[in-house]
């Protein structure tokens, strides 16, 4: 092979094996409520197959009985009668096939709708530690592609499987009842076709995996190149990037050629074997027919049945693959559904509709992965209405404190008290309604500005207007043609970073939290917006317990309490003035920035 891939192949095979056992049960269990529909569909399939198989027999009778035998017609047993029968059988087959598709479609789609909603609701309630471990792409796949994969299993795979197997059995049965020896002769070729189809399809499937791998990499490569095009051009890396691309594209081309080669054998070769089988049949029949032991019509029917044998075989080989992937998808989805026990329950716990907002950390130790402590023995008290500023370098543990106050994670040692109650005992729903968090990287949903402020909650118009004013967002919102109903595109990319932050302030104020938590934005905000943000923060902080991860000295200086973090521990805490006089970390930071400004 011209390329190597990680051991993914063996992995996926193992997964398939493992999946096969449990997933089959789960799939069948899911379909249980639809048993009557599925049975009815099977009945329809039976009619379809019967119609399909009877047709060559009718033709055989016409040839042998009337055209060669020159028999006299009796009523329906005439050419006209048989023709009518042929038409009726076709019509019945067609109608059954349509009814079956409708029944199965309806059952499959309803089933998958339920499953999809179920998966989505589980994703909603997954605890954050789980979400941190799992890539978002994977979760999206669960709710979309994996459920589609299962739809296909029900609407397409399951019933076709039944149909194909019935059909194959039917063909063999009719062949045997027409002529044992001809059947045996036909079977000199059929195993070759079966082997060919399964063998080549398997290789096609494997190669297709490589093709997908490379097209995925090409996709990623182009995406990255486009995003980084400016840098590529500025640093003159065009040639190098082109070479990398040509190599990748060439590897892809090599795999597609293998695909072309395999495909140019599969169908033509089985066509060839069908034709050869007919030649062999004729050759074998020559003696029998001349001896009067075989009728020509029977020979003709056999040539038709051999052709009919190919389609279900090719189908089965395809379905085998679809079943495998449906099983893998089922396994994955049920892995998620089995998370049920660890899901967040936002409803239980001590109801506390309105918090006062006193926060106390008592010897809190916390780690995201149970090995590296991010917070080490952290203790502090923030009283109701106070503003606390957290300072310290990246990775000192500031953001972690925010995550804990929200109830997103549970601490390993020590405890967090809010209004004197352990945070783990408070009803999550109430806790989160009372805490508003504004992160540095503000997330806006597609919709309007208004939607992004209310988030679908029932908030009075005056409250929304007030939120706009207090957040200082009004100044730019009113400049939009549609004002507050101005549409927000995906991720709010049309707004500047500062504007996004102001909108998220409005969101926080509109929800009137007892505790306000802010991770101050750092980069790319001009002096004007910065002043607006400062004003908004003052408005919000007024009368609320406020926690700020501060980057601006002005914010820090205005706080009631400064908590300086260093490597997970509190390095110093106290009122800004006190700390300045103490001459520790805060004082150093202050001097540093001033010496910058004054030196020259």
């Amino acid at each position: 092979m011209i390329f190597t891939l990680p051991s993914k192949k063996t992995d996926s095979q193992q997964v398939e094996k493992k999946a096969a056992t449990g997933a089959v049960k789960e799939l069948l269990r899911l379909s249980k409520p639809y048993t009557p529909q599925l049975l009815l569909a099977c009945l329809c399939v039976f009619v379809v197959n019967a119609a399909f198989l009877i047709q060559p027999l009718l033709l055989q009778r016409v040839i042998d009985h009337f055209l060669i035998g020159r028999s006299v017609s009796h009523g329906l047993d005439s050419i006209g009668g048989l023709a009518l029968l042929y038409l009726t059988v076709s019509a019945a087959g067609g109608a059954s096939s349509y009814i079956q598709a409708l029944i199965v479609g309806k059952a499959g789609q309803s089933l998958v709708h339920q499953l999809r909603v179920n998966v989505f609701s589980i994703i909603q309630r997954l605890p954050l530690p789980y979400l941190d471990r799992t890539s978002s792409g994977r979760l999206i796949t669960r709710a979309t592609n994996d459920t589609s994969e299962i739809t296909e299993f029900y609407t397409d795979v399951l019933i076709t499987l039944v149909k194909d197997i019935m059909l194959l059995i039917g063909i063999v049965y009719i062949m045997l009842s027409l002529s044992l020896s001809l059947t045996l002769v036909s079977f000199t070729v059929i195993p070759v076709i079966v082997f060919l189809v399964f063998y080549i399809k398997n290789r096609i499937k494997k190669n297709f995996f490589y093709m997908k791998h490379f097209i995925g990499r090409i996709n990623g490569f182009i995406a990255e190149s486009i995003s980084g095009m400016k840098v590529i051009q500025i640093f003159r890396a065009e040639k190098e990037k082109e070479e990398q691309f040509l190599k990748l594209n060439g590897q892809y081309f090599a795999t597609t050629l293998i695909q072309v080669r395999l495909n140019s054998v599969l169908k033509p070769a089985s066509d060839m074997f069908q034709s050869l089988a007919i030649a062999i049949l004729v050759w074998y029949s020559v003696g029998k027919i001349s001896g009067g032991m075989l009728q020509i019509g029977v020979l003709y029917a056999f040539t038709t049945y051999i052709k009919q044998f190919f389609a279900p075989i090719a189908d089965l080989a395809d379905k085998y693959t679809s079943i495998q992937s449906a099983l893998v998808s089922t396994e994955r989805i049920f892995e998620l559904i089995h998370e049920e026990d660890s899901l967040e329950d936002t409803d239980s716990g001590l109801p506390m509709e309105r918090l006062n907002g006193t926060i106390e950390f008592r010897h809190v130790w916390f780690s995201y992965n149970d090995t590296d402590w991010v917070l080490k023995d952290v203790s502090f008290v923030i009283k109701k209405g106070q503003t606390a500023a957290f300072i310290g370098e990246t990775g000192a543990g500031k953001t972690t404190i925010i995550n804990l106050i929200n109830g997103f994670y549970r601490v390993q040692k020590g405890e967090i008290l809010i209004d004197g109650v352990n945070i783990n005992d408070i009803r999550l729903d109430d806790l989160r309604r009372n805490v508003s968090v504004v992160l540095q990287d503000v997330f806006l949903f597609s919709g309007t500005i208004r939607d992004n402020i209310t988030l679908g909650d029932d908030i009075a118009e005056e409250a929304v207007q007030y939120a706009l004013q207090a957040s200082c967002a009004e100044s730019f919102v009113k400049d939009f043609p549609a004002g507050i109903t101005e549409p927000v595109t995906e991720r709010g990319s049309t707004f500047s970073a500062g504007q996004r932050q102001l909108i998220s302030f409005a969101r926080a104020i509109a929800h009137n939290p007892a505790i306000f938590v802010l991770d101050e934005a750092t980069a790319n905000i001009d002096t004007h917006t910065e002043k607006l943000i400062q004003q908004a923060v003052d408005n919000i902080a007024n009368g609320r317990t406020t926690l700020i991860i501060a980057h601006r000295l002005s914010t820090i200086a205005g706080a009631d309490l400064i908590i300086a973090m260093k490597e997970g521990r509190i390095a110093e805490k106290g009122h800004p003035r006190e700390l300045f006089e103490q001459g520790g970390y805060y004082a150093k930071l202050l001097n540093e920035s001033r010496s910058h400004a004054f030196s020259s």
Binding site: H113, F235, N263, V282, F443, N524
Partner: protein, 579 residues
């Protein structure tokens, strides 16, 4: 000119195409001999005493045809279909090369997803058109024409006409239903897209949703979307499930017509039983190409639309190109701007207005000003990311447009506000895929930009893979990485565009110090929001709405008491503790 890429490709591969079509013709034509042979065999055998040898000769022919068709089909597929794959890759290369030449003004107006769609979906549609669809049409036409010819010529004209009379109806029905299916299928796909978007947005914003306890309303919204998807799927199934039975029934009518009229003709002695059998054979041969007409039409339509889109994008001329016989002398770094004015395409006001300044080699220029004042634009114009509208930029007294683009850009190194890190190793990201630097140089550049310690902490040091699948860098680390990328090139002119915004004040000071030493005697441009980053520059300009408001050294500007002074005092106040 519409498909110059295509024409070039066809020309280069004309022999394999010619041979491919020859084999395709042979395969299709020979196939149509088979029913006739079978019919002749039946005719021979229906007599009570027949010559066995004659039948065996026919059997030998059948076997020969079977093998012949296989060989021809195998060959044409390996020519025509393989060529289509080749065309796909060829097109993609052309497109990627073209993309590398297009300037930022092109990328500013396009979404990455759309551009990727060209390279994957559109090109794939073109492949489908010139591969399978072309083969199916050619094959189908030959197969149908020769089948109908044999039906006419060797069986009976009247019988053929009667039997095939339902065909036009089948085709019309199929095309009509096909269009309907396509429309409904599109709706299903749109619904699927909506669901995907919804889930994606939901997961990206899950922290906000949880923080504001929105799980329930999100679920309701999703459930609504999902049941709409269920509905449109059912709408699709209602139509799509009807098509195959209808077509099959149409052909059943054909068979029945043959059964009634054909056998009557056999009984009357107009045609033989062999003819009757052969006729049935031809009917089934015709069926499969007819059934695929709808699909082929769709593929062609899509392919042509994609071809148009690809042509549109490929015919956008790169707007930044070398003049004939460009200058290839390394500039030393004397920059002069004369009355420079620049306006972005589609913008209402100019981004820069009448900018003139001189920056001699070895000097450092500081640029400060609010967001949108034109700072980054000024930098981008220096190394021709955009073409200058009016005015001139001189580098060593030569217009920058006179230089070869390669030479010009090599003499600059630019560190942008938002750094792009490639999914490659740390080292690759610093040397930027060029093989000309040794490890010492890489480490030195990393040290000077204060990223060396972070790199040493990574699992594989300089070989650590960055990006989504590797180590994620913090904003500050990214910026320092980008500075290393610039420093290793030791350029005549270094530009930092707010490139220290995410590093803390202490680190900023260190980096500025190390720059002062390594960049001595070379030209530097520092753009920043913070006065601390630029105050030591030889000249500082204050930009506002594209105009130079103030210029001078730090001290001069402070004395002036203007805009610069205001910025300075605001930033100073921030530093004082509240009393």
């Amino acid at each position: 000119m519409k498909s110059s890429v295509l024409l070039r490709f066809f020309k280069d591969h004309k022999y394999s195409y010619a041979a491919g079509f020859m084999f395709m013709f042979a395969a299709s034509f020979v196939q149509t001999l088979f029913p006739k042979l079978l019919g002749s065999a039946v005719d021979l055998m229906k007599e009570s005493r027949f010559e066995t040898r004659q039948v065996l000769v026919l059997v030998a022919w059948m076997a020969l045809i079977a093998v012949g068709v296989f060989v021809c089909t195998f060959l044409w597929r390996n020519m025509i279909i393989a060529n289509a794959r080749n065309l796909e890759c060829f097109y993609r290369e052309e497109l990627f090369r073209h993309m590398l030449k297009l300037s930022p003004s092109f990328y500013n107006t396009r979404k990455t997803g759309d551009l990727i769609a060209y390279a994957i979906n559109d090109i794939s549609a073109v492949r489908m058109t010139f591969g399978p669809a072309t083969a199916m049409s050619f094959n189908g036409i030959v197969l149908c024409l020769s089948s109908i010819y044999f039906m006419f010529a060797t069986v009976d004209v009247r019988l053929t006409l009667i039997t095939l009379s339902p065909l036009p109806l089948i085709i019309v029905l199929m095309l009509f239903t096909g269009r309907k299916i396509q429309m409904r299928f599109r709706t299903v796909q749109e619904q699927f897209g909506l669901i995907s978007d919804r889930v994606q947005e939901n997961i990206s914003g899950i922290r906000v949703i949880k923080a504001y306890v929105q799980e329930h309303s999100e679920m309701e919204k999703f459930s609504g979307l999902s049941s709409r998807m269920l509905q449109s799927n059912m709408d699709l199934i209602k139509v799509s499930a009807a098509l195959p039975p209808l077509i099959e029934f149409g052909f059943a009518v054909c068979f029945v017509l043959n059964l009634v009229f054909g056998s009557r003709m056999v009984l009357r002695g107009n045609i033989s039983i062999g003819d009757f059998v052969a006729f049935n054979g031809y009917l089934s041969l015709i069926a499969s190409p007819i059934v695929s007409i709808g699909r082929v039409v769709t593929i062609f339509q899509r392919g042509m639309a994609s071809l148009g889109r690809l042509h549109d994008i490929l015919s956008i001329p790169p707007d930044i190109v070398d003049i004939p016989n460009p200058l290839r002398v390394q500039p030393s770094g004397n920059i002069e701007l004369c009355h420079l004015t620049f306006q972005y395409e589609g913008a209402e006001v100019p981004a820069l207005r009448d900018i003139s300044l001189q920056l001699p080699k070895g000097h450092t220029l500081g640029i400060i000003g609010p967001t949108g004042s034109g700072k980054s634009t000024l930098a981008a114009l220096l190394f021709r990311l955009y073409n200058v509208d009016s005015g001139q930029i001189l580098l060593d007294n030569q217009d920058i447009n006179e230089y070869a683009l390669e030479i010009l850009r090599e003499s600059f190194a630019f560190v942008p506000q938002e750094t792009f890190v490639f999914a490659a190793s740390v080292k690759e990201n610093i040397v930027f895929f060029k093989d000309v630097y040794n490890d010492d140089e890489v480490e030195n550049a990393a040290r000077l930009s204060l990223i060396a310690d972070s790199i040493d902490g990574f699992p594989d040091g300089y070989d650590t893979i960055l990006g989504e699948r590797g180590v994620n860098l913090s904003g500050g680390q990214k910026q320092r990485m980008a500075i290393a990328r610039a420093l290793i090139r030791n350029p005549a002119v270094l530009i930092l565009d707010d490139a220290l915004s995410a590093v803390d004040a202490v680190t900023e000071g260190h980096i500025l110090n190390s720059l002062r030493q390594t960049r001595k005697g070379k030209t530097n441009i520092l753009i920043s929001h913070r006065i601390s980053a630029i105050l030591e520059a030889d000249e500082i300009i204050v930009l506002d709405k594209g105009l130079i408001r103030e210029r001078g050294t730090h001290e001069q500007l402070l004395k002036k008491g203007g805009m610069y002074y205001d910025i300075y005092t605001t930033q100073q106040e921030d530093g004082l503790p509240a009393s």
